[in-house]
């Protein structure tokens, strides 16, 4: 008789594992096919020449430029407001913190049209009217697009940045303080470099969200051709006049921007700290 250990049969599947795996993979394939199918149907609808000639038309070039400009400006403002707000809600304890947290989350769950309508109502109040007449015009103007995008994306930026700041061990800042940093210096010399990847990822996501913003924008800034015509509004206007080819071209541009943003995001999430 030989005494020894039996070789473990690691390749053998555990009973009942296969159907479960098949169900999961099925759901995955179904969803991928759904999204891919939509893109394929768009490709089938148009040809390359029409697509290129539509993209270089003055109306679409205007929409691209306006979208890039407004989204960049609103993202800059949103990040400037969200960084301190997210840091405060992540690090400080104060009475009514959960109420503030809920209020900050509202723009994420509320319908963008409702948000735009609320802004429109605000500019009809005496305070809003004074801003409109004495400071800057928002209603049916380009600044209105920026404001609408800002309102929608800032809450998202706060949420994303809060989770970034939550993930940073306060010990780093404490060490920074013992090494001679004031609270402010520890924030920008220690916390911000640690949050770098999270900050860039939040900026990309909010920028992409701003590019695609429609509901609040159309309500506050309106949908005037080559005036307040961002890319989503261009789709809306061209569909309204049954110019499907133009609408499809704009959809392709939006898809390209989204894909670019996602590629950048993936790169950043796998990135280490730069030297």
């Amino acid at each position: 008789m030989t005494i020894g250990f039996e070789k473990p049969q690691s390749t053998k599947k555990i009973k009942g594992e296969k159907p479960f795996q098949a169900a999961l993979m099925g759901a995955l394939v179904l969803l991928t096919l759904l999204f891919a199918g939509i893109i394929v149907s768009l490709v089938a609808y148009t040809d390359l020449d029409t697509l290129i000639s539509t993209i270089v038309s003055p109306e679409i070039i205007y929409a691209i430029k306006l979208s890039l400009f407004t989204a960049t400006v609103s993202t800059t403002f949103a990040m400037l407001a969200a960084i301190p707000a997210a840091y405060a809600i992540s690090h400080f304890q104060f009475p009514g913190k959960s109420v503030v947290d809920t209020i900050l989350d509202l723009p994420i769950v509320i319908s963008p049209i409702a948000l735009g309508a609320a802004l429109l109502v605000f500019f009809n109040t005496p305070a809003g009217a004074a801003i409109e007449s004495k400071l800057i015009r928002f209603v049916f103007e380009v600044p209105g697009i920026i404001l609408a995008q800002f309102m929608v994306i800032t809450a998202l930026a706060v949420r994303l940045l809060k989770s970034t700041f939550d993930g940073i061990d306060p010990r780093y800042e404490q060490v920074g303080r013992t090494l001679g940093c004031t609270k402010l210096a520890a924030f920008y010399k220690v916390t911000l470099p640690l949050a770098r990847n999270g900050l860039i990822a939040a900026a990309i996501l909010t920028w992409a969200r701003a590019i695609g913003e429609f509901g609040a924008t159309v309500t506050l800034a309106g949908a005037t051709k080559q005036k307040t015509e961002t890319l989503p509004i261009a789709i809306f206007l061209n569909l309204a006049t049954a110019d499907i080819e133009k609408a499809v071209a704009v959809i392709f541009i939006l898809i390209a921007i989204a894909v670019l943003a996602l590629i950048l995001l993936r790169r950043i999430s796998s990135m280490r700290y730069p030297r």
Partner: protein, 350 residues
């Protein structure tokens, strides 16, 4: 000199109360205590990272209780080292020198000196995340020392290292302390570490100070039962006479026991031996009779996963302990004669 007077600190549900402590210049001071004793809270309060509810912290008679951490000139090495991952080893070391109007040449010189002192010269361009535990600890030390602090706080600096690295770094820390002369406060839960490193030590338990003294004073005269418990309830034997027997050894007569010890300067008044350092056998063990004694079991007491035996040897009652399963296997009963061997290297002499 650091004076802590009636210090009270509250962090969440934890309170550190009425801490009175004096730490001398250039002293290597160890704070020993179990997990949750408040050791970290105490040194964090010294570093200015917690607001004090009451009392005062003075450094050279200057009240620093309300001084922000960046103005205390205290170096701090946290338990997990908290090295900045966004910069290199050199970047970590120079972090505290940036913005201090230190000339680049001076900064470079300081980095090189510290790197040489802590054997980090070959690692200066390395990403800190690729370092071993021991290397990380040395970088954290260099970073804290770069600002030339008056006091250095070390929070469990050897806690996460393997036994070999920890042993090596214990020696390194002592060498560094001797060379730089910085007043050092070292927090640990490790008794051997405390004993090896400390000029003086404080025993902290549940937010209060139990005893302050040299390791010898603590081991040979534990003031409270808590301290005795924390340090492992040592057997203290009073010795009357000492006789040189050659080969660097002496024979001490301690309450009817003749104990062989290494030659010790300044005579031998007391010997401390921990229950865990006494080997118990029901039968006569083979080998030399060095520090081997026969005694009678007076009492048997279960003690967590161990069994504690009180054995009468000569005029002494020695506490010995052994794992419960081994005790059960031996089948020792009260009144039975047993053999004890005192491990020569583990005897502490006073």
């Amino acid at each position: 000199m650091i004076s802590i007077n009636d210090l009270s600190v509250h962090v969440g549900d934890f309170s550190l109360t009425d801490i009175d402590l004096q730490i001398n210049d250039q002293e290597y001071f160890v704070i020993l205590g179990p997990t949750g004793a408040g050791k970290t809270v105490l040194i964090e309060a010294l570093a200015g990272l917690h607001r004090c509810r009451g009392g005062m912290i003075l450094i050279d008679d200057m009240d620093i209780t309300s001084v922000p951490p960046e103005q205390r000139h205290i170096g701090y090495v946290p338990q997990d080292y908290a090295l900045f991952p966004f910069t290199t080893v050199a970047g970590n070391i120079t972090f505290g020198l940036r913005g201090r109007h230190t000339r680049q040449k001076t900064t470079k010189k300081k980095v090189n000196t510290l790197a040489h002192l802590l054997h980090l010269s070959h690692l200066l361009d390395r990403d800190v995340r690729t370092l071993s535990g021991g290397e990380k600890q040395r970088v954290a030390l260099a970073r804290a020392l770069a600002t030339s602090p008056r006091t250095l706080l070390l929070d469990e600096p050897l806690g996460s290292l393997d036994v070999r690295t920890a042993k090596y770094l214990r020696l390194e820390l002592r060498r560094l302390h001797k060379e730089l002369g910085v007043t050092t406060i070292h927090v640990t839960h490790n008794l051997i570490e405390a004993e090896e490193m400390a000029d003086r030590m404080a025993i902290l338990n549940m937010g209060t100070l139990e005893q302050v003294g040299t390791p010898e004073e603590v081991f040979f005269d534990p003031r409270t039962e808590t301290v005795a418990d924390l340090i492992g309830t040592p057997n203290i034997l009073d010795c009357d006479s000492v006789k040189h027997i050659g080969h660097g050894l002496v024979e001490a007569a301690c309450g009817g026991m003749s104990i062989i010890l290494p030659l010790h300067d300044g005579g031998i008044k007391k010997i401390a031996v921990f229950p865990r350092d006494i080997y118990v056998s029901a039968t006569k063990p083979p080998g030399p009779e060095l520090n081997r004694f026969q005694g009678v079991v007076m009492n048997i007491q279960p003690f967590s996963s161990l069994t504690r035996l009180t054995v009468k040897v000569g005029n002494n009652q020695l506490l010995a302990e052994l794992p419960k399963d081994i005790f059960e296997e031996m089948g020792i009963k009260t009144g039975q004669a047993v053999f004890l061997i005192l491990k020569l290297r583990r005897l502490r002499i006073h």
